[in-house]
């Protein structure tokens, strides 16, 4: 028999292979849906200079216990009414296909949630949104037309805005295992509040309400859209950029200067000479073999500048410390940020914090909280680069003996997080990243050691007094027996000597 050939739409492909995107079962699907919606809301706020207000609600269906309704509302920039159908109803459609740090990267997440909802409950997604510069509010009930990968609008309403509201409200109903995933969801919300201390997050669920009020009104500098770093390109990226340049007269030198991060006239000339290209070559004239040679040379040229961090948006040590203190409630907390670095053409910045004591329970291992582009990472800790570093450190050199109440927070910001898998849960041990993370972690650990040392010294003097008094009675009575004397007379003499000894030492400690 002969074969029948046909194409699949991306929506159809992911409908058939939903586990690829992390929607393998009702428990993971519910967690993943919460994650996708919350992350979209945070991207819509802080990336645009708005202090976030996020409202997350989980409700169970009265008649169908396996059905869960999730509603997430934000005060973000909103989505233009005419874009809403594509944003929620079309796989591989979005605003994040740029060189910039965001939580969302694939243009897939929320569509997967929509797909999963409509294939498990048949219910459409409800979206309500308004942009800041618009005077209308758009409301939709949407499906995805799976075979054609286009939105199917069941209901649409555009109405005049009567308040100065902007933002997005999303609601959908899916088959979700609430009991199995509720712990993870709460952890996710809690850790999101830690990494976003400028956000107010309200979380309502069948178990009650949690409110994480912002502990700072200071927002980090939002990330800018940037350019590719010359080190990370391949042939197809070059082809794409040349096609999009739409300029038949552009020289190779001009092309490099215009389209690549950190390339000026001098470095462009130097590279082209190194690589054996004429700087005034017209890019449109380059053959495929030339492009291959150019891509390889760009990858191997050793003198490219490091990427600037314009595309990134780290928290900074003060905000990170505030978040840690508000969520973990330790007796001691500190945080650091590392200078920008890069791997394979992608800029990255590493932050770390350490927290000790207070409400942190003693454990046999460091409590590790991992974040990437301000997203909490809950699964697959065992194969993550941060866990690898934490486990390789001899914590006793920082005066930490287990069981100990110590938590380490790691945060990686990059235009491309080197996740190990599609689930975006574990970061691979890229050498450049591992190096920076280790420095950051050891830095905060050193600061903890200083604190612990001061604490120790204060108790040391006290302990000396206690210890000698502890044994004084035995020494006195034993000597008295051997020498046939009164124990009290010996005790008195010793007490006197001890007081003189202790006056030689005096220590105070500021916690």
């Amino acid at each position: 028999m002969s074969e029948k050939y046909r194409g699949l739409s991306p929506a159809e492909f992911f409908h058939r292979n939903k586990e690829i995107a992390g929607f393998s079962n009702p428990s993971r699907a519910l967690y993943q849906t919460v994650r996708e919606l919350v992350e979209n809301s945070l991207d819509a706020t802080e990336t645009h200079g708005i202090l976030p207000y996020i409202d997350v609600e989980v409700r169970l269906h009265e008649d169908r216990p396996e059905w869960v309704t999730l509603r997430v509302a934000d005060n973000g920039i909103g989505i233009p009414a005419h874009e809403i159908p594509n944003v929620f109803g079309r796989v591989f459609y979005g605003s994040k296909y740029v060189v910039r740090q965001t939580r969302g990267v694939f243009g897939l997440g929320v569509k997967m949630a929509v797909l999963y909802a409509q294939m498990t409950t048949g219910k459409p997604i409800y979206v309500k949104s308004s942009t800041r510069d618009s005077d209308v509010v758009g409301e939709y009930l949407l499906y995805i037309d799976i075979s054609r990968n286009i939105p199917h609008v069941q209901k649409m309403r555009i109405k005049k805005k009567n308040k100065n509201w902007h933002g997005t409200i999303v609601r959908l109903t899916l088959e979700g295992a609430w009991l199995q995933s509720k712990k993870r969801i709460e952890d996710y919300i809690r850790r999101t509040a830690l990494i976003s201390p400028y956000a107010t997050i309200r979380y309502r669920s069948p178990d009650g309400e949690l409110l994480f009020e912002r502990v700072s009104k200071e927002l980090p500098e939002p990330p800018q859209i940037g350019k590719y770093h010359p080190k990370g390109v391949d042939i197809e990226i070059l082809k794409d950029l040349i096609r999009r340049s739409n300029n038949n007269d552009m020289t190779l030198a001009g092309f490099l200067e215009k389209y690549f991060e950190g390339v000026g006239e001098k470095i462009a000339q130097e590279f082209l000479t190194w690589a054996g290209f004429q700087p005034d070559t017209k890019v449109k004239e380059l053959k495929l073999a030339d492009l291959e040679k150019l891509a390889t040379a760009m990858k191997n040229f050793p003198k490219w500048r490091r990427p600037r961090p314009l595309t990134l948006s780290p928290l900074g040590p003060e905000l990170l410390k505030k978040g840690v203190k508000s969520i973990l409630k330790p007796e001691f907390a500190t945080a650091v940020i590392r200078p920008p670095s890069s791997y394979g053409g992608h800029a990255f910045i590493v932050e770390a914090a350490i927290a000790y004591g207070g409400e942190i329970p003693p454990q046999d291992n460091v409590l590790l909280l991992r974040f990437a582009n301000k997203m909490p990472l809950l699964y697959d800790e065992g194969v993550d680069v941060s866990r690898k570093i934490v486990d390789s450190i001899d914590w006793s050199i920082y005066k930490i003996k287990f069981p100990a109440p110590v938590a380490v927070v790691t945060h990686v910001c990059s235009t491309k997080i080197p996740f190990k898998g599609v689930g975006k849960e574990a970061i691979a041990d890229v050498p450049e990243l591992e190096h920076e993370l280790e420095i950051a972690i050891r830095d905060v650990a050193r600061r903890l050691r200083i604190y612990l040392s001061k604490l120790e010294k204060m108790y040391e003097v006290k302990r000396k007094e206690v210890t000698i008094r502890k044994y004084m009675g035995e020494v006195s009575s034993s000597l008295a027996y051997v020498l046939n004397m009164d124990p009290n007379s010996i005790s008195s003499l010793l007490e006197e000597l001890l007081k003189k000894e202790l006056e030689k030492k005096e220590v105070t400690v500021n916690a």
Binding site: R463, V466, I468, E474, L479, Y481, V482, E501
Partner: protein, 381 residues
């Protein structure tokens, strides 16, 4: 010639009055410090390898001149100071009341609970000591500080040694003839220095590692036929067995031959009779027999006496490691023959037991091996 003929056979223990005086003097010295306004401390000779000196002339390990100042007001040492003074008082009490406690008795008698409030304000408690290693350690401290052996202080231990031969010992006013023990033997007591050895008629002392071999040689009356004193420590020898052997060597000028298995443990046992333990070097002047001769069984005997392959036991890593450690002991290092023997043991990685000689017949050990080795001067020293 006897090494110490003027005192041959006489009891060596200091008198009870002298023992008590030395103990009390230690306490007095501490009280004097306190009274004169000085933080009290104990001066204890250091019992480590670094303060252990090999006396080439006398062929003994001796304690060097280093001492440690154990200060009561030093937080890391105050407990040990307390334990030492406490133990001192217990020993004094036993001497005053003419008791003979074991080290375990002393452990229990001095163990009690101290209640106090710690630096965090909590009511807590602590024992004067938690295990016998702690109480033993301060007994050793008192030994080196006073120059007395625990036996002199009346401390008893589980004595394992046995002895037979043509000799007479006076103990507690009784004459004991060690040639008239029948199939049995005399059990060596804890304090050998209280004994008077009034008569010895023997050509040498034969010290046998294994109790079973001792029983066998005793039943055969090897000591009668070969005119020797037969001793066993039943494995690693206790202090009284070592003291007895030394007295026979020192006071009666008898050659001492050690018979052990051919393995690093046997060689180590020889080493204990010969010069003692590095960590107990303060004892070696009284407990070591520096001219003790290793009769066998040696690694080279495997070849010499054609020991069958299936009698040979493969040495363990621990055996090899132990042999390498032994090579660093001065009394082995200075001996060309011992270094050869240990090197051979390490190279071959083989060991044999005394009983392996029985392959040549049950009487081979007593009729051939021991007499020939002694006659041909094939011992190692």
């Amino acid at each position: 010639m006897p090494k110490n003929t003027q005192q041959a056979g006489k009891p060596i223990s200091p008198s009870s009055e002298e023992v008590l005086a030395r103990l009390e003097q230690l306490a007095k010295s501490i009280y004097d410090q306190i009274q004169s306004g000085k933080p009290p401390y104990l001066d204890i000779p250091v019992r480590t390898l670094a303060n252990t000196i090999w006396d080439k002339k006398r062929k003994l390990l001796v304690l060097g001149p280093k001492t440690a100042k154990r200060e009561f007001f030093d937080i890391g040492e105050s407990k040990r100071f307390m334990q030492t003074i406490l133990m001192l008082s217990l020993i004094v009490r036993a001497r005053r009341e003419n008791d003979y406690p074991t080290i375990r008795d002393l452990y229990y008698t001095g163990k009690h609970t101290i209640y106090y409030v710690n630096e965090y304000g909590k009511k807590v408690s602590e024992e004067t000591w938690d295990d016998q290693r702690e109480s033993n350690a301060v007994i050793q401290d008192i030994e080196v500080a006073t120059g007395l052996l625990r036996e002199h202080m009346g401390i008893m231990h589980d004595a394992k040694g046995r002895i037979v031969g043509n000799m007479i010992i006076r103990s507690k006013g009784t004459e004991i003839d060690l040639s008239r023990m029948g199939s049995g033997a005399w059990g060596i007591p804890s304090n050998v220095d209280q004994l008077e050895i009034t008569k010895v008629e023997a050509d040498y002392v034969l010290v046998v590692e294994k109790g079973a071999i001792f029983e066998r040689l005793n039943e055969e009356e090897f000591w009668k036929k070969n005119k020797c004193i037969l001793v066993t420590g039943k494995g690693q020898p206790d202090r009284s067995t070592r003291r007895m052997v030394r007295r026979l060597w020192e006071e009666f000028d008898l050659p001492v031959y050690i018979l052990t298995d051919a393995d690093s443990y046997g060689y180590y046992i020889y080493s204990v009779y010969r010069s003692g333990s590095i960590s107990l070097s303060y004892e070696s002047e009284r407990l070591a027999t520096p001219e003790a001769r290793f009769l066998g069984v040696s690694t080279s005997d495997i070849e010499r006496y054609k020991i069958p392959k299936n009698y040979i036991i493969k040495a363990t890593e621990r055996d090899i490691k132990r042999a390498k450690e032994l090579m660093n002991y001065p009394w082995f290092k200075e001996s060309k023959r011992w270094m050869e023997e240990l090197q051979l043991f390490i190279e071959r990685g083989e060991k044999i037991e005394i009983e392996a000689l029985s392959g040549h017949g049950f009487k081979f050990l007593s009729n051939v091996y021991i007499p020939e080795k002694i006659a041909n001067k094939e011992w190692i020293i």
